[in-house]
Amino acid sequence: MNIDYPNDALKIELDEKSKSLRKLCVETLESGKRAHLGSAMSILEILSVSYYEFLNISPKNFTDLYRDRFILSKGHGCLALYVILADLGFFDKSHLKKFCHPDSILGGHPEYKKINGVEASTGALGHGLPIGIGMAISSKINKINNNILVLLGDGEQNEGSIWESALSASKHQLDNLVVLIDYNKIQSYGFVKEVLNLEPLSNKWESFGFNVLEINGHDKKQIIDALNSTKNRNKKPNAIICHTIKGKGFKFAENNPNWHHKSNLSEEEINLLYEAIR
């Protein structure tokens, strides 16, 4: 089943929390003068709902075996993860001011053990889902009914390891696994449909044995409803295709492949970012 998500449906007004997290992102980006801004802005609501409303993870239990897991397989979207982990108190917000500095704990991709709350070092694509499946199998062996969330990029699904993983998740009936897909339709070189078309994406995941939902990835109500629906364990792993806008919240960056990654950001560009979220 394919649901057509014209951009109009995704032009949902952002709430105050989403805006304040974006402001924190810009402050972070200002200190590093670089970031995958577009890739982080498309996932901010997905991460926000996951961490604030769904996951059982906190600065107090982030090493507890019984906690939920969130793996940012598309590690380049880490700006969104950093501001949320900081906002929740996994580390002091002052670290955001040192993003990508030589002695910072926060680099251009998230690293395990440097940052509390980061479950695995990611950055090379196609690694987070296999690791998440290992954790989901671990929970099954240990008879722990927790939730294992893995967030993939759309371009990331070019990797063969994703589809190896999908076969196995289905074989092991990992209904505790939720694959979130940030379908912003743009990868590094350009539009996904031109670089390596994924369609029919929903059918692909369904044919691999997943429960599949398609939602507006900026609509918090749709996100939490979709996540809650995965608690109806039915022996099938879950895929939630989140239609999103790359660069969401910054008009000049929205759906603009040039904002996938930016380095050496000028003062003028940073001012533009601040103005956009005023």
């Binding site: 395990y112 196609g126 296999p130 998440g132 290992g134 199998i137 390891s161 190896e164 993983s165």
Partner: protein, 309 residues
């Protein structure tokens, strides 16, 4: 050696409920007992090696001790990034059991011949490498591997059913075994090449030529203490391995000595496979000989080097 390795993993799994076995698409009936006794800890995941490495990392994050088994080249070549990122960057205690280390799969051609596996694995921080000389040593080292807290690559070689380590009492990862001492010349060997080295030093001894033998089942980390002792006190050091001459066991010893005992580096001479894809089939022994590691040739070169030719 492969059977001893897998049986040893099964034996350890009976004692430790954290041990997990993950195979790719191994032969029918492999570890059936394991599968029957511990079905929730036995996985056969198909020809999806890259996924399997990540899966093993996920299990290890939660405290399990995965043993991942398939053909060496499919682990070390195909999954190099997964091994680096998923296992070694996180320094997880996952054991990679590589079938066919060296030229075991001679008749199957270069896609299956693991003559670069040590080079690939020793280039990764946190990775350890063991290369036992026979089934007895393999079994003992698998027992030791259970508590080894880092990623570990286990090189399985066939090399017939010969057992040379049965009189050895103690096996420790990282600790070498000296079969014969000599101040004149010593062969440092790893894997089943130690069987060959034993034949060579016996033949030379019969000619009244005194050559010692130290076996290093652990390629990484090297037994630095032993190497320090030998490089200082022995006139000639020979290394012997069933691997490309580049970046392997001998290279690691040469590099270490070059960094620490530069004045002695010219004592070292390396016997290894030429740096080219093998161009013949046959069997392990014929291909090893074809590629220049035959006993007569090695003996002749040793004699020339130590002035006994």
């Amino acid at each position: 050696m492969r059977k001893a390795c897998l049986n040893s993993i099964y034996k350890q799994a009976k004692k430790n409920n954290k041990i997990i076995f993950i195979g790719s698409d191994l032969g029918p009936g492999v570890l059936d007992d394991f599968k029957t006794d511990f079905p929730d800890r036995f996985f056969m995941e198909g020809v999806s090696e890259q996924f399997i490495i990540g899966m093993s990392a996920g299990l290890a994050f939660d405290g399990f001790l995965p043993y991942v088994n398939t053909i060496s080249t499919f682990l070390t070549r195909r999954c190099l990034e997964q091994i680096i990122v998923d296992l070694c960057m996180h320094n997880l205690p996952v054991k990679l059991i590589g079938n066919g280390g060296g030229l075991v799969y001679a008749p199957l051609g270069p896609t299956h011949q693991a003559v670069d596996d040590i080079a690939l694995m020793r280039s990764i921080p946190n990775m350890s490498i063991i290369s036992p000389c026979d089934a007895h040593e393999m079994e003992a080292l698998i027992e030791k591997s259970v508590n080894w807290p880092h990623p570990l690559y286990v090189r399985i070689a066939k090399g017939g059913d010969k057992i040379i380590s049965d009189k050895i009492q103690t096996f420790e990862i990282g600790k070498s075994i000296t079969y014969k001492e000599s101040n004149k010349a010593v062969i440092l060997s790893t894997g089943i090449m130690t069987q060959k080295a034993l034949e060579i030093i016996t033949d030379l001894s019969n000619e009244d030529i005194d050559v010692g033998l130290t076996h290093l089942h652990t390629v990484t980390p090297l037994d630095y203490k032993k190497i320090d002792e030998l490089i200082k006190n022995v006139e000639h050091i020979f290394t012997l391995e069933e691997h490309f001459i580049v970046n392997g066991f001998g290279t690691s010893i040469l590099e270490y000595c070059n960094n620490n005992f530069q004045e002695y580096t010219n004592k070292i001479y390396r016997f290894a496979l030429p740096f080219d894809f093998p161009d013949q089939y046959g069997n392990q022994e014929t291909l090893i000989n074809h590629m220049g590691l035959n006993n007569e040739k090695i003996k002749k070169e040793i004699k020339q080097k130590i002035g006994k030719a």
